[in-house]
């Protein structure tokens, strides 16, 4: 409670009425004894017990306290819990007429202020979430030492592999082909950070990059591919993520945005749902941007190798279908739009093939012999 009163300067409206007896109950703030007192309004409110004044409350300091049906008063310059209770309505009115700052601290007068400040806070949080966090992630990600990023990657690695359930395929010829492909794309894309690529024996057609330069192709993807360029395109896209350190940026963005949105909504609307919806939309918008950039990396490096990026686009459409409908919660841009972009940047496939026919076959068979794999390291 703010004590913004000045005890001395307040000129009391010196009451001229006859001193009528106003009986009240007084709690002195040191015990819960009900003291039967009379109030005599003079220059200040005198609290009189058995003819002796036990306390004097300046009118400017008197505040209304919650007291059910009775009028209950407190005083800023008395003990914090000292109270006067007046049961008689008319008597209470008389006392109240002297007290001109009764509701000075009452917060219902501040609702407009609360709304205005909340809106300002909400606006600033929204602005920070939409613009500040991506900026912070872009600036912070390069500052995180590579060893730290690698540690994060290792932690996610185990989880991802456990969830997917496959093991790492380690057939030598296949891995050699994959390594060759990785090296070619790295050189073409101008990528300097170290990188490891592996194939997981899972039939889901997908691929992902982990923080710390680790890329997984799932065997389902390789089996679905019609030619080398399709797989190379996907690999180049994932290398793009690794090159841009997207995994790390995503961690910073998700952490920051969920913190800020949590601040905003608190426990309104039963918590979860709104928070979750808002976060999915924001995370997805961050993610679509990162995907577009990774596509850019894939297009540049494929073209540098003299191979068309178009097969990547066709492959994506084949995997995801050619729906033309996008929603705000999609994490990736539309496959059809991605294909359009790659078709536009198609400069033909005049360069030499990325893998020879034998190497391509080896890559396709990387998961064939289960005896050679040792079950997920």
């Amino acid at each position: 409670m703010s004590a913004d009163s000045d005890l001395t300067s307040v000129a009391s409206p010196a009451p001229a009425q006859e001193p009528a007896v106003i009986s009240a109950i007084y709690y002195d703030g040191t015990s819960n004894r009900k003291r039967q007192v009379t109030l005599s309004p003079g220059a200040a409110l005198d609290i009189v017990e058995d003819g002796a004044t036990v306390a004097t409350w300046p009118y400017a300091d008197i505040r209304r306290a919650d007291g059910g049906r009775n009028v209950r008063l407190s005083c800023l310059s008395a003990l914090p819990l000292a109270r006067i209770e007046i049961a008689d309505k008319a008597a209470a009115e008389r006392v109240l007429s002297f007290c001109h700052a009764l509701d000075a601290d009452h917060h219902s007068k501040q609702t407009g202020k609360v709304v205005a400040w909340s809106l300002a806070a909400a606006c600033s949080i929204v602005v920070v979430t939409l613009f500040g966090i991506p900026l912070a992630a872009d600036r912070l990600a390069p500052m995180v030492p590579y060893t730290v990023e690698k540690r994060i990657g290792e932690a996610v690695d185990r989880q991802a592999r456990t969830l997917l359930g496959g093991h790492v395929c380690e057939r030598k010829e296949g891995q050699a082909a994959l390594d060759k492909m990785v090296d070619k794309i790295r050189v073409a894309g101008g990528m300097t950070s170290p990188l490891e690529a592996h194939v997981l024996s899972t039939s889901i057609p997908n691929a992902f990059a982990l923080p710390g330069g680790k890329v997984y192709l799932l065997d389902g993807l390789i089996q679905k591919a019609n030619n080398v360029d399709e797989v190379a395109g996907v690999l180049a896209h994932e290398l793009g993520h690794a090159h841009n350190r997207d995994g790390l940026r995503k961690i910073i963005q998700t952490g920051g945005s969920s913190f800020l949105i949590g601040l905003l909504f608190g426990d309104i609307m039963g918590g979860g749902a709104v928070l979750f919806a808002a976060r999915s939309v924001i995370d997805a918008s961050y993610s679509r941007e990162a995907e577009t950039q990774a596509d850019g990396f894939a297009i540049t490096s494929m073209n540098a190798l003299g191979r068309s990026p178009r097969p990547l686009g066709e492959f994506l459409v084949r995997i995801t279908g050619k729906s033309r409908i996008s929603t705000v919660i999609d994490s990736h841009p539309l496959s059809a739009d991605r294909l359009d972009r790659m078709a536009k940047e198609d400069h033909g496939s005049l360069g030499e093939p990325i893998l020879s026919a034998a190497e391509w076959r080896a890559l396709k068979e990387i998961c064939v012999d289960p005896k050679k794999s040792d079950g997920g390291v």
Binding site: M1, I25, Y27, D28, G29, T30, S31, N32, R33, K34, Q36, A65, D66, G67, G68, R69, N70, R72, P80, L81, A82, R83, H107, S108, T111, V114, V115, W117, S118, L119, A121, A122, R151, I152, E154, A155, V156, R158, Q159, R161, T162, G255, F259, G262, L263, L264, F265, G266, D267, I268, M269, G270, G271, A273, V274, S323, I325, S326, T327, V328
Partner: protein, 379 residues
């Protein structure tokens, strides 16, 4: 049990004193409805003001032996408590994140036990939030207050929680009794110390058959509110009757039929709201579909759903639904339940609290801030 006039003199023959609730229902309804709108406009920040208003209403309308209680907390305290709690929680969350990272490197999902820490912290926050509310509770010009370590409470709550889990819920009465003993031992009204004398075995004897019933009942769902009402009535009655403040005792004659009405009314309102929401969603979706020609089947459904106007309409409906839920829950399960429990409770030997000397300080709202940021806030 209803005493018309608060008499200052102590009666010679100790008769039980009543607790009365004098709050007007429409007043509370207006308060929470207005509060829900303001919560919406302020994107949740109004919750500190609303919580304070609701508590002030409930506290100040509750009278023991004719003397009304008072809630002296302010919204600003809650806001500051929340902000300070955030400042403390951010480094804790970061530490939690990196610890989890290290654990995951050693073994996938090894970070799961860290949830145990979060549970512990939640219990700590609940204890400290209770401490704050109690320190803002004033009756006859003297405050309640609490001491005792929140962590020591959290440990007890967590270990008993494990035991309840392992016993499939049968150990619940013992957990409740142990935790209530701890809380009440550290609860004071001025220089009077509280205690809890409810026996776990009494609770168990009254409620064990509900444990047997709830397994088959869970299959049908329909009887569950009945079982819950009976259980809560037994629990509240046992709890109130076990409370002591010094030599002051309490007694409750709460009946399960008192609670049953609240639960069914809440269920009724929720069914109504969900029905209205479904109709609204149908109308919005229908209008959307009427304007979208072309594709059919799931494709059309998807295209309607991603139309910004349909999305906005659905979002609006959802927000209204959530606001209505909050209002109904606050009216029935907060105000009505409070009023019912207050008016079914009598106080014995209240004269033992006649010459109480004020003690204890108004502690800060940090605990409430923790509870709020962990989403476990109570009243």
């Amino acid at each position: 049990m209803h005493h018309p006039m608060p008499l200052p003199s102590v009666p010679l023959i100790p008769t039980p004193k009543g607790i009365t609730f004098t709050g007007e229902r429409p007043e509370f309804r207006k308060l929470v409805t207005r509060g829900a709108w303001l919560e919406l406009i302020t994107l949740g920040f109004y919750r500190f003001w609303l919580a304070t208003d609701m508590r002030r209403h409930l506290w100040s309308n509750t009278a023991v032996d004719g003397d009304h209680a008072e809630y002296t907390g302010t919204p600003k305290e809650l806001l500051i408590g929340f902000l300070v709690a955030l400042a403390i929680l951010v480094p804790i969350y970061l530490a939690y994140f990196f610890l989890g990272l290290e654990a995951e490197r050693l073994q996938a999902f090894a970070s799961l036990p860290l949830f145990a820490f979060l549970y512990l912290f939640t219990q700590f926050a609940l204890y400290r939030a209770r401490r704050y509310r109690l320190a803002r509770t004033v009756w006859r010009g003297v405050r309640f207050w609490m001491n005792g370590s929140g962590w020591s409470y959290a440990w007890r709550a967590a270990l008993w929680g494990v035991w309840v889990f392992a016993s499939l819920g049968l150990a619940l009465p013992w957990r409740a009794a142990a935790l209530e003993r701890f809380k009440m031992k550290h609860t004071h009204y001025g220089n009077l110390q509280g205690s809890f004398e409810g026996k776990a075995s009494d609770f168990f004897k009254k409620a064990w058959w509900l444990w047997l019933l709830c397994w088959p009942a869970a299959l049908f769902i329909f009887p569950l509110p009945f079982i819950y009402a009976v259980f809560k009535a037994i629990e509240w009655r046992w709890w109130v009757t076990g409370l002591r403040i010094g030599e002051v005792r309490f007694e409750s004659d709460l009946d399960f039929s008192d609670l049953m009405g609240f639960y069914w009314k809440v269920i009724g309102w929720i069914v109504l709201f969900v029905t209205i929401f479904s109709m609204w969603a149908g109308i919005v979706g229908g209008i959307g579909a009427a304007f979208m020609k072309g594709a059919s089947g799931p494709e059309q459904f998807a295209s309607v759903m991603q139309n910004p106007f349909v999305l906005a309409g659905m979002g609006l409906g959802y927000v209204m639904l959530a606001l209505a839920f909050n209002v109904v829950l606050r009216i029935y399960l907060m105000r009505d339940l409070w009023a019912k429990i207050a008016s079914t409770t009598v106080v014995h030997n209240l004269s033992a609290a006649d010459e109480v000397v004020a003690q204890g300080d108004a502690v800060n709202a940090l605990g409430e801030g923790f509870a709020d940021s962990l989403d476990v806030g109570g009243f």
